[in-house]
């Protein structure tokens, strides 16, 4: 023991580290080589030539912008990679570190294929076809439908990653269909709907800056869902920034950052936010000046939150009244304060938008909007933002009446250019959609996934583009096309603030894979829009995007780092709502109907919905459905993130699959004891809608009474246990509002 190294540490701190080392000694005995059996077939034999390197940006998760990768290549074969330095997003995570296993995976889809067995059969009997045959078939089918039923009957949809969104959107509108949609229909878009309704701008908060004194992290486990940001948060903590973390789980983000952990029952975020607001208003801790000038609906909110006393909110959320008061005081009084929201935890609810608006309302009361150290907004976004390229304002907006979602989700349709795709089964049944062009889409993203498989099957024609054949989805489409990977493609650009990064393909595409943008451009040309799609030339399309900043693809690639920094037209400015920088009419104020932060939303009022951020109990819960809770006493909490898988992706990669080989449900030690379960047992997870088989992981990560389940396992698709009920504002499903039971298999 070398305690003498560190003479200055406190007795308490020393005991803490001693406890860790003692625990380590205890587990040390269990460690061993858990893998004597190996399959050893080198996918990419190491060649002897000279090693060179190239750069790309990673697409293993579905976030934008992406992390930088330095790729080593020998004789045209990728040998290994590491994080790119001097790049805005770094370092890579475990997923990014596995890029080359995806590249050389023996099961990669490398050629266009058409089915020769009927859709829905187990073996599709895929047969290789040429790209010409593929394009001819697609163009013929789509144009047939366009002539017979109208172009709007064709759905264009992207899943994962997001890189092909702008050109596919451009293709949809150019072809004449407003029905372009994305996986954001179940991911983050509801938070943006909530923010647009409330503030007139979208976003999920801002990272703490040097000035930030308090940071509220609401249900985001940055450590696992966005590892590249974790060191920045830890550094902020070292600087003295206080952290309040809201999360039902004891995540590493909570464990390593939280000064106050608000460990709530899943689905009660709205009630917790209203409880915090109750304290902030009651104790006069809000920014009265900002609220008086810039908040619409404060008096109604004040009246509404009267009932959300800390004691009542403790009963709803399971967070102690004392902690609610402590957190409200810290957040409201220690300014500047920022907040970090997550994509989806607060909105996987049939009360999605209002839950999230309650959190935004709390934030509005503290006045930290667009202040240094608060939730800052970009002063000078680049004019290359894809607005012009995607042609929404030019064409898309004029076809609103033909949107498939306009009747079911009018608020969503008023705010979003993309359509809400969660009613695809209905759209197909009602004849609104007859064909689909899908990039990286997986039917597992929806509740009652089999209804979406059925809808794909019932389309007259469906084509999917992917890296792999994914039977769960592709068994129900007519044709599959091979996409080039992040190591093989050029488009799109990666934009960080005013820095624009470009890339050259690091290696040639394997087989006949083509990059997504190229497929879309070539298909556009084949459909009769050669001019609009630069006759299939991706680089010409990139040049079109770069025109407003006087750059070209060639100029960017000539730079050794393939980057350009476009100088801003002026300095950063704060409180842009005072300066007339947020509204199209240049008047001071927010871009909302009243020009203020709308805690009471005029848009919701217009659509005859409750204008206030009202709380509703989860669809199923011990409070809303007490009888069901007797049979299914555990909260079904799904959709959390793992650091080594993205949704349904990456299970085929050996380095990642060995970390978690089987579908897992996590429960607390207390709940495991009650059920006679031990870590690693085979279990059945059951809800009123059915059951799936999983392994149980017994862990302190979850609190008693709650489960934690990762989605996207095709042999145990938890979304089949979620009902198809949707939030009327955002169209979001209740992924975190169920009840279940776990028993030994």
């Amino acid at each position: 023991m070398s305690q003498s190294f560190f003479p200055s540490i406190s007795r308490r701190a020393f005991l803490k580290v001693s406890a860790v080392t003692a625990a380590l000694a205890a587990v040390g005995a269990k460690l061993g080589n858990d893998a004597p059996l190996l399959q050893h077939a080198l996918a990419a034999p190491l060649a002897a030539g000279e090693e060179t390197f190239g750069y790309t940006y990673c697409d293993m998760c579905n976030q934008v912008p992406k992390c930088g990768v330095k790729v080593y290549v020998r004789d045209g074969v990728v040998t290994r990679l590491e994080s790119r330095t001097n790049y805005p997003n770094d370092p890579l995570c475990a997923k990014g570190m596995s890029l080359l296993q995806e590249e050389y995976h023996p099961a990669r889809l490398l050629y266009p294929m058409k089915r020769t067995a009927p859709k829905g059969t187990e073996d599709s009997k895929w047969v290789r076809i040429s790209w010409d045959e593929a394009y001819d078939t697609i163009a013929k089918k789509l144009n047939e439908i366009k002539t017979r039923d109208g172009a709007d009957k064709v759905l264009f949809m992207t899943g994962d990653p997001k890189e092909m969104r702008p050109p596919l959107q451009r293709l949809a509108y150019t072809f004449g269909s407003p029905n372009y949609g994305t996986e954001s229909s179940t991911c983050a878009r509801a938070t943006q709907v909530a923010a647009m309704l409330t503030f007139g701008f979208s976003g999920t908060g801002a990272m703490p800056s040097a000035q930030t004194k308090t940071c509220l992290i609401w249900s985001k486990n940055t450590a696992w869902s966005g590892p590249y940001d974790m060191w920045k948060l830890l550094d902020a903590k070292d600087r003295g920034c206080k952290f309040i973390v809201v999360d039902p789980r004891l995540t590493p983000t909570v464990r390593n950052l939280a000064d106050i952990h608000l460990q709530l029952r899943p689905g009660t975020d709205g009630a917790l936010a209203l409880g915090l607001i109750h304290v902030v208003i009651k104790e006069n801790l809000y920014d009265a000046d900002f609220v008086g000038k810039w908040v619409h609906g404060f008096d109604e909110l004040k009246e509404y939150v009267k009932e959300f006393t800390p004691d009542k909110v403790e009963k709803i959320t399971w967070v102690s009244a004392a902690k609610i008061v402590e957190a409200a005081r810290l957040f409201a009084t220690t300014r500047p304060a920022t907040w970090i929201g997550s994509a989806s935890p607060t909105v996987h609810s049939v009360n999605a938008a209002q839950n999230h608006r309650a959190i935004l309302s709390l934030y509005a009361l503290t006045g930290n909007i667009d202040t240094p150290g608060g939730w800052t907004l970009a002063t000078n976004p680049l004019p290359t933002a894809d607005g012009a390229f995607n042609r929404y304002r030019e064409i898309g907006v004029k076809m609103t009446d033909k949107r498939a979602d306009i009747k079911a989700f009018p608020v969503w349709a008023e705010i979003n250019d993309e359509i809400q795709v969660n009613l695809i089964p209905e759209y197909v049944k009602e004849g609104k959609i007859k064909a689909g062009v899908f990039f990286g889409v997986n039917a597992m993203m929806w509740p009652q996934s089999h209804e979406y498989q059925e809808a794909f099957k019932n389309m007259e024609f469906a084509v999917a583009v992917d890296y792999f054949t994914r039977p769960w989805t592709h068994n129900f489409v007519d044709m599959i096309l091979p996409s080039a990977t992040a190591l093989e493609r050029m488009a799109p650009l990666a934009v960080f603030g005013r820095q624009i990064f470009h890339r050259k393909p690091v290696v040639k595409p394997l087989g006949e894979a083509r990059e997504d943008w190229q497929i879309i451009f070539e298909l556009g040309a084949k459909l009769g829009y050669g001019k609009e799609f630069w006759n299939g030339n991706v680089e010409a399309g990139i040049n079109f995007i770069l025109e407003p900043v006087n750059l070209t693809s060639e100029k960017l690639l000539a730079n050794p780092e393939m980057v350009a920094i476009v100088p801003p037209p002026g300095p950063e400015q704060y409180k842009k709502y005072e300066l007339g920088l947020l509204r199209a009419d240049k008047k001071p104020g927010f871009n909302t109907p009243t020009g203020k932060v709308e805690i009471a939303s005029e848009v919701l009022k217009k659509h005859k919905l409750d204008p206030l951020p009202v709380y509703k109990e989860p669809l199923e819960s011990p409070i809303s459905t007490p009888d069901l809770a007797k049979k299914f006493p555990l909260i079904l909490n799904t959709g959390s993130r793992l650091p080594f898988y993205t949704h349904s992706k990456l299970r085929e990669l050996p380095w990642l699959r060995e970390i978690m080989p089987h579908p897992v449900v996590r429960i607390s030690p207390a709940d495991a004891t009650k059920r006679g379960l031990k870590d690693g047992d085979d279990v059945v997870l059951e809800t009123s809608l059915g059951s799936i088989k999983m392994k149980v992981e017994v862990t302190n990560l979850v609190m008693p009474g709650v489960t934690d389940i990762f989605h996207g396992w095709q042999q145990a698709n938890v979304n089949e246990l979620i009902p198809r009920k949707f939030d009327p504002i955002s169209g979001y499903p209740p992924f975190k509002e169920g009840l279940c039971e776990v028993r030994k298999a």
């Binding site: 023991m1 540490i9 590491e82 570190m97 060191w231 590493p252 390593n256 085929e652 060995e658």
Partner: protein, 183 residues
């Protein structure tokens, strides 16, 4: 000089980036099979150490490789002299030409650090000596998204950890691993 690792347990988040970065840089199995149950050699692994219970639960994440011990048990039990401790930097390495794959080192190591490879010999963390020679950090350290893991001489690592509650991991083999928690 003795090279080793320093892990800040108040920063480690158990994201497995170190494990996979090590496999990527050192070209470790499994390479093509993602069959559940098939596990490759892990020169670095991530442990989750839990204690207490709700609402006072604790979970500590630990990233562990070879500790390049001061008195390495693996070297002592090796019947062929394949394992050795380098005199100049204390790094413990395997000579593939001498190893017969008897796995005595694996059984002797308190951490199970030496791994049995498909070639029938032992393999283990060598602190990325090739990267060190190029002035780079080991792959696991370089890749750590939380900046929790460090490598270097134990004296330098001790300075880095000063001001934190830290200690060299106790053990008869004198592991060259410093662990710290917050101040």
């Amino acid at each position: 000089m003795q090279l080793g690792f320093y892990l800040d347990t108040e920063r480690c988040v158990g994201c497995y980036t170190c494990t996979v970065a090590c496999k990527n840089w050192n070209n470790l199995a499994p390479k093509t099979s993602a069959t559940p149950g098939v596990q490759g050699p892990k020169w670095r692994r991530v442990l989750s150490v839990e204690s207490g219970s709700y609402p006072n639960a604790e979970i500590v994440k630990l990233s562990l490789g070879c500790q390049h011990c001061g008195k390495p048990a693996c070297v002592g039990v090796c019947p062929t002299g394949a394992l050795s401790k380098r005199a100049d930097d204390g790094v413990v390495v395997v000579d593939q030409n001498k190893c017969i794959g008897c796995r005595y080192c694996l059984f002797a190591c308190p951490f199970g650090a030496p791994q049995y490879g498909e070639e029938g010999t032992m393999q283990k963390c060598n602190l990325c000596l090739g990267r060190l020679a190029e002035g780079k950090k080991p792959a696991c350290v370089d890749s750590c998204p939380a900046k929790a893991l460090h490598a270097g001489s134990l004296d330098d690592l001790a300075k880095l950890a000063s001001g934190k509650a830290a200690q060299r991991l106790a053990g008869a083999t004198l592991p060259s691993l410093i662990l710290s928690t917050a101040k």
